[in-house]
């Protein structure tokens, strides 16, 4: 596969990756999707999950939580609220994330917030836990 596209992964605090990628698997809100060069322009929100990047120089994986991805014809930008390279991820960090999600779920449930925030928080918690298991840390 010779064709590549510009891939950028940015979080509010820093830019994590900017490289030529041949395929990127994105944990979209409505299911995983893989973006390859010349993909139809799409904007999707992210659920907590693993972002897999395939590039000629090798593969990389990032844990992302929340945010969105903008797929253009020859570029892909992922704007993640939090993004951590898989190699730097530890069980402790995962636990913190899960703990945060649990806390959010609890306060959402107690305060009985509107806009389906309770369901959102529940889903977030489930996603986080699934992610933890998936990574088998």
């Amino acid at each position: 596969m010779a064709q590549t596209m510009q891939f950028d992964l940015v979080s509010p605090e820093r830019s994590l990756a900017s490289l030529q990628a041949s395929a990127v698997q994105i944990p979209g809100a409505e299911g995983d999707m893989t973006a390859m060069p010349a993909h139809a322009p799409t904007i999707t929100t992210l659920r907590p999950g693993v972002l897999k990047v395939e590039s000629p120089e090798g593969n990389a994986e990032y844990v992302v939580t929340g945010g969105f991805a903008e797929i253009g014809g020859d570029s892909l930008s992922v704007l993640a609220e939090r993004a951590i390279p898989m190699a730097e991820m530890t069980r402790d960090q995962m636990n913190t994330l899960i703990e945060d999600a649990r806390e959010m779920y609890k306060t959402a449930k107690e305060e009985d917030q509107p806009h389906g925030l309770v369901e959102d928080a529940a889903k977030l918690l489930a996603d986080m836990e699934a992610l933890g298991t998936h990574m088998s840390l």
Partner: protein
């Protein structure tokens, strides 16, 4: 006229003041570099985010069902002023400039018959506004324990604001912060964050929104992203503020160091002159004593 001993102590004390201000200047310079880096690191995110939001806002913004965060509540009776300042002083006019802008805005709004509520971020702004707007304070966010501003801090502030918005406490929110231009120039800025206005090449936005597929729907994405937008704007304002604070402190301390130097020079001259005067005096006494014999 102060005697020699007084002058000497005075010189010593100004010297130690100069040492302190010099050290503070150097610390501020180091922190400024870090703050500037942080601000620059966050720029790509903010830029892209705003571009996408501009596209979304252009396509959904006009419709009746657009989220309140974008459309507004339909009234502009109650204004929330979010005043972001530093936690520490000794940074020249930094805090007072922001406070001054906020005070002006509050006075304007009150003159127009609007209700004003104030949320302060940073202790110094709170202190500066307590006298004039103390009755309008609705909350305070304390960041004094935070060493390095993270996105989580911005989210905390954003959540506070959004909860108030959902509770219908205000219609329009404006943030006040100092925009960093360079070390000597920081511009106090007011920026409206609710209802959000995303500008950026109207033409581009229209064409961009036309070609994108949205997953899930445009409106859901917008509803999901708008609260994040508030957090993002607050985050970049906090970072700008951080850089501005260090820049202002650096130039203030530079001035202080220079002033201390001038003062030492002046005091040293005075000290030497009075020392000379004392010696001359003694000689005159001795000589006239000798002549009298």
């Amino acid at each position: 006229m102060p005697n020699l001993k007084d002058l000497k102590t005075r010189i010593a004390s100004v010297k130690s003041t100069r040492k302190i201000t010099k050290a503070m200047q150097m610390v501020a310079a180091a922190k400024l570099r870090r703050a500037q880096e942080a601000a620059e690191d966050s720029r790509p995110y903010t830029k892209r985010f705003n571009a996408v939001m501009a596209g979304l806002a252009a396509s959904v913004g006009g419709s009746e069902s657009a989220p309140k965060l974008l459309r507004g509540t339909g009234s502009d009776q109650t204004h929330l002023l979010v005043v972001m300042t530093a936690e520490r002083g000794l940074c020249g006019g930094f805090n007072s400039n922001i406070a001054k802008l906020a005070r002006q805005k509050a006075a304007e709004l009150k003159a127009a018959g609007k209700t004003v509520k104030v949320l302060t971020v940073g202790k110094k702004g709170r202190d500066a506004l307590k006298r004039d707007l103390g009755g309008d304070f609705v909350g305070h966010v304390d960041l004094s324990d935070v060493k390095r501003i993270g996105y989580a801090n911005a989210q905390g502030v954003a959540k506070d604001i959004l909860t108030r918005f959902d509770a219908g406490e205000f219609d329009v929110a404006t943030i006040f912060f100092a925009e960093f231009v360079n070390v000597v120039t920081q511009i106090p800025t007011a920026q409206q964050i609710i209802p959000a206005s995303y500008e950026g090449g109207e033409g581009d936005a229209d064409s961009a929104s036309a070609v994108y597929d949205y997953e899930p729907g445009e409106e859901q994405i917008l509803a999901d992203l708008l609260p994040r937008g508030v957090a993002t704007q607050i985050f970049s304002a906090l970072l700008e503020n951080g850089a501005s604070e260090q820049g202002a402190r650096m130039s203030a301390m530079d001035n202080a160091t220079r002033n201390a130097g001038d003062m030492i020079d002046k005091l040293t001259i005075q000290y030497n002159r009075s020392r000379q005067a004392v010696i001359t005096n003694e000689l005159i006494e001795i000589i006239s004593g000798a002549e009298a014999l």
